[in-house]
C-alpha cells in the first residue's frame, strides 16, 4: 500500500490562544473543528473519522472521543483518543492517514482542545514507577529536558547562550504572527537574565502554558484537490519511541528521533537538503537542538553552533518554528506546528512566509523524553 502523497491536509483551524476564561476543552475543540471545516470547504457530515487528544483539563480522559462525537453529532466510522503528550498530534495524523489509506474512513478530523492555562495544569509529574523520582525531588518536564541540556552541554560544549538563540528566533517569528501569545521581541541577554527554573534551563528556555484548540482535517489527495484550498500532501511520516529511561545510557539524547525522521524521509523519497522550513517541537529550547542533529541539518554536537547567527530565523538558511512555536506562539503541544506547516506549504503565512516552500518538516515529541514523530509536508506538484 503506497501512502506517500495519497493523503492530504484539506483544512486546518485554530481558536484564539492564551488565557480564555470560561471556555472548556470541548467547546474550544468544536470551534477549532468549525474553523477547519470552513478552511476546507467541508460540511461536518463529510467527516467520517474523528481522532482526538484529550486536553490536560478534559474530564473525559481516554473517552474524550465519545463525548466529542456526541457533541458534534457525528457517528464516525473510525474514531479514538490518544494521550502521548506532544507526540499525540503527529501520531494522530499518521493514524488518520493510515485509516484513509486502508479505506476505513474518507475524511478524518484530528482535534485537540485544552484549558491548561486557566485550568491550572502544571506539567510537573514525576516518573519512576515503583520508586517515584519525587522522593528525590526529580520532577517536572523542565527537569527531564534539563538532563538533556546538561548532558549536551557537558558532552559537546553547548552553551546556554546557544539555547537562547532558539528562544530569540521563536519570539521573533511570534512577533510577526498576530495570533501568537508572546509577541515582544527578546534578546540573548533577556534570556540570560531570566530566572532559573531548573538549571541549566532558564525561564525563557521553557514553553508557554495555554488555553486553545486546534483541528486538522485529512482526506485523500484526490478529494482534497476538489476542495477550497490547495492540497498539502503528506509526503512521508515516521515515529519511534524510547520507553526506557535510566536503563538506557543515551536516553537523554532521544536517539529514537533519528529513526522517526529516517522513516519519514524514506517514505517521502527526499532528503534533509530538500527542506526549506521546519516546525520542530519545542517544549524546551534544547529540543530544537536535538531535532536539528537527528534530522541531519548538522552533525551530532554541532547544533549549538548551527543555531547561531540567525541561521534558524526567517531569512536564514533554515527558518524554524515560523509561527513562534510552543515557546512563543502558544503551547498547543505541537498541534500549531502542523497548522503552520500547512500554511507555509500553501503560501499563506503572510509576513513570515518562507519563499518557494516545496517541503516542510514537522516534528512532535512527547511524554518525558519518550515519544517522537516526524512528517514531511509537500506541495502538490499537480
Amino acid at each position: 500500500m503506497k501512502i506517500s502523497d495519497t493523503i492530504a491536509f484539506a483544512g486546518v483551524g485554530a481558536t484564539p490562544q492564551g488565557k480564555l476564561s470560561g471556555r472548556t476543552p470541548l467547546d474550544l475543540g468544536i470551534e477549532a473543528f468549525r474553523h477547519a471545516l470552513d478552511d476546507a470547504g467541508l460540511k461536518k457530515d463529510d467527516v467520517d473519522g474523528i481522532l482526538t487528544m484529550p486536553g490536560t483539563t478534559s474530564p473525559e480522559g481516554g473517552l474524550h472521543f465519545l463525548r466529542f462525537g456526541e457533541a458534534v453529532g457525528i457517528n464516525p466510522r473510525y474514531t479514538g483518543s490518544m494521550t502521548m503528550g506532544g507526540a499525540t498530534a503527529g501520531c494522530l495524523v499518521q493514524m488518520g492517514a493510515m485509516a484513509i489509506a486502508a479505506g476505513l474512513a474518507t475524511t478524518v478530523a484530528c482535534i485537540f482542545g485544552d484549558t491548561a492555562k486557566t485550568g491550572g495544569s502544571r506539567f510537573d509529574r514525576a516518573s519512576g514507577g515503583e520508586t517515584s523520582w519525587a522522593t528525590w525531588g526529580m520532577m517536572s518536564a523542565a527537569a527531564n529536558s534539563g538532563i538533556a541540556a546538561d548532558r549536551h552541554m557537558h558532552t559537546y560544549g553547548t552553551t546556554s547562550r546557544q539555547l537562547a538563540e532558539v528562544a530569540v528566533a521563536c519570539r521573533y517569528h511570534a512577533s510577526l504572527n498576530p495570533a501568537a501569545v508572546m509577541r515582544d521581541p527578546i534578546t540573548v541577554e533577556d534570556h540570560q537574565a531570566s530566572p532559573w527554573i531548573v538549571r541549566p534551563l532558564h525561564l525563557l528556555d521553557c514553553c508557554l502554558i495555554s488555553d486553545g484548540a486546534v483541528c486538522v482535517i485529512l482526506t485523500s489527495t484526490e478529494r482534497a484537490r476538489d476542495l477550497r484550498k490547495p492540497a498539502v500532501l503528506v509526503g512521508g511520516f515516521g515515529q519511534a519511541h524510547t520507553t526506557m529511561n535510566l536503563e538506557q545510557e543515551d536516553w537523554w539524547y532521544v536517539p529514537h528521533q533519528k529513526r522517526a525522521l529516517a522513516d519519514a524521509f524514506a517514505m517521502a523519497g527526499c532528503a534533509t537538503s530538500d527542506i526549506q522550513v521546519a516546525q520542530l517541537y519545542d517544549n524546551f529550547t534544547i529540543s530544537v537542538l536535538l531535532w536539528l542533529e537527528h534530522a541531519g541539518f548538522c552533525g551530532a554536537g554541532e547544533s549549538g553552533a548551527f543555531v547561531e547567527n540567525g541561521r534558524i530565523r526567517l531569512g536564514g538558511e533554515l527558518p524554524v518554528n515560523t509561527a513562534g512555536g510552543n515557546l512563543s506562539e502558544s503551547y498547543m503541544e505541537g498541534w500549531l506546528h502542523i497548522v503552520e506547516g500547512v500554511r507555509q506549504v500553501r503560501g499563506e503565512s503572510g509576513t513570515r512566509q518562507v519563499p518557494d516552500v516545496e517541503h516542510c518538516l514537522v516534528t512532535g515529541r512527547g511524554m518525558i523524553l519518550n515519544c517522537s514523530n516526524a512528517m514531511i509536508l509537500r506541495k502538490d506538484a499537480r
Binding site: T131, S132, H154, E247
Partner: protein
C-alpha cells in the same frame, strides 16, 4: 526536613527495607545476571521473573547535575534551591538522588564528573532514603 516519606509497594519493599539498614540493593536477575533499575517485575534483558536483591556500591559518578529553583510540591518548595544528580553506579545501574547540601553551597557548583557517596537519611517513620553526599577531600578514595 519536610521531604516526603516514600510509599513502598510489595515490589519495592525490599529496596526500602535495605535502605533503612543503610544498604543500597537492586534486583539482580537469577538467569542472566542483569541488575535492573528502576525496579520491575521482570528482567528487562531476558524477561525472567526470578531475581535476588543484591547490594550495590554506595558511591557513583555524577552524569548530570540539576539545580531546582522551582519546587513542584509543597514538600520541595521549602527546599529550593536544591540539587539532583543522575548517578552512574560501578555495577551499571543509574539513578537520581538529591544532594545533601545544608549550606546551599553545592547549588552553585557543577558536580558532573565527580564521585559522590550515597548516604541514608532516616525519615520520621524509620524509612531510610538514599541521598548523594559530596565530600571534596573524599573523592580520590572512590575513583
Amino acid at each position: 526536613m519536610t521531604k516526603p516519606v516514600p510509599a513502598a509497594t510489595p515490589l519495592s519493599l525490599p529496596f526500602w527495607e535495605a535502605a533503612s539498614r543503610g544498604e543500597l540493593k537492586m534486583q539482580k536477575c537469577d538467569d542472566c545476571g542483569h541488575i535492573r533499575f528502576p525496579i520491575g517485575p521482570a528482567c528487562t534483558k531476558c524477561l525472567s521473573p526470578h531475581s535476588t536483591w543484591t547490594g550495590v556500591s554506595r558511591h557513583g559518578k555524577v552524569l548530570s547535575h540539576l539545580v531546582f529553583h522551582r519546587g513542584y510540591t509543597p514538600d520541595w518548595r521549602t527546599e529550593v534551591p536544591y540539587s539532583v544528580v543522575m548517578l552512574q553506579l560501578p555495577e551499571g545501574p543509574r539513578l537520581f538522588l538529591d544532594v545533601v547540601d545544608p549550606d546551599k553551597k553545592l547549588v552553585e557548583a557543577d558536580l558532573v564528573g565527580q564521585q559522590v557517596r550515597i548516604t541514608f537519611d532516616t525519615m520520621a517513620d524509620g524509612v531510610g532514603v538514599p541521598r548523594a553526599l559530596y565530600e571534596a577531600p573524599m573523592q580520590e578514595a572512590h575513583t
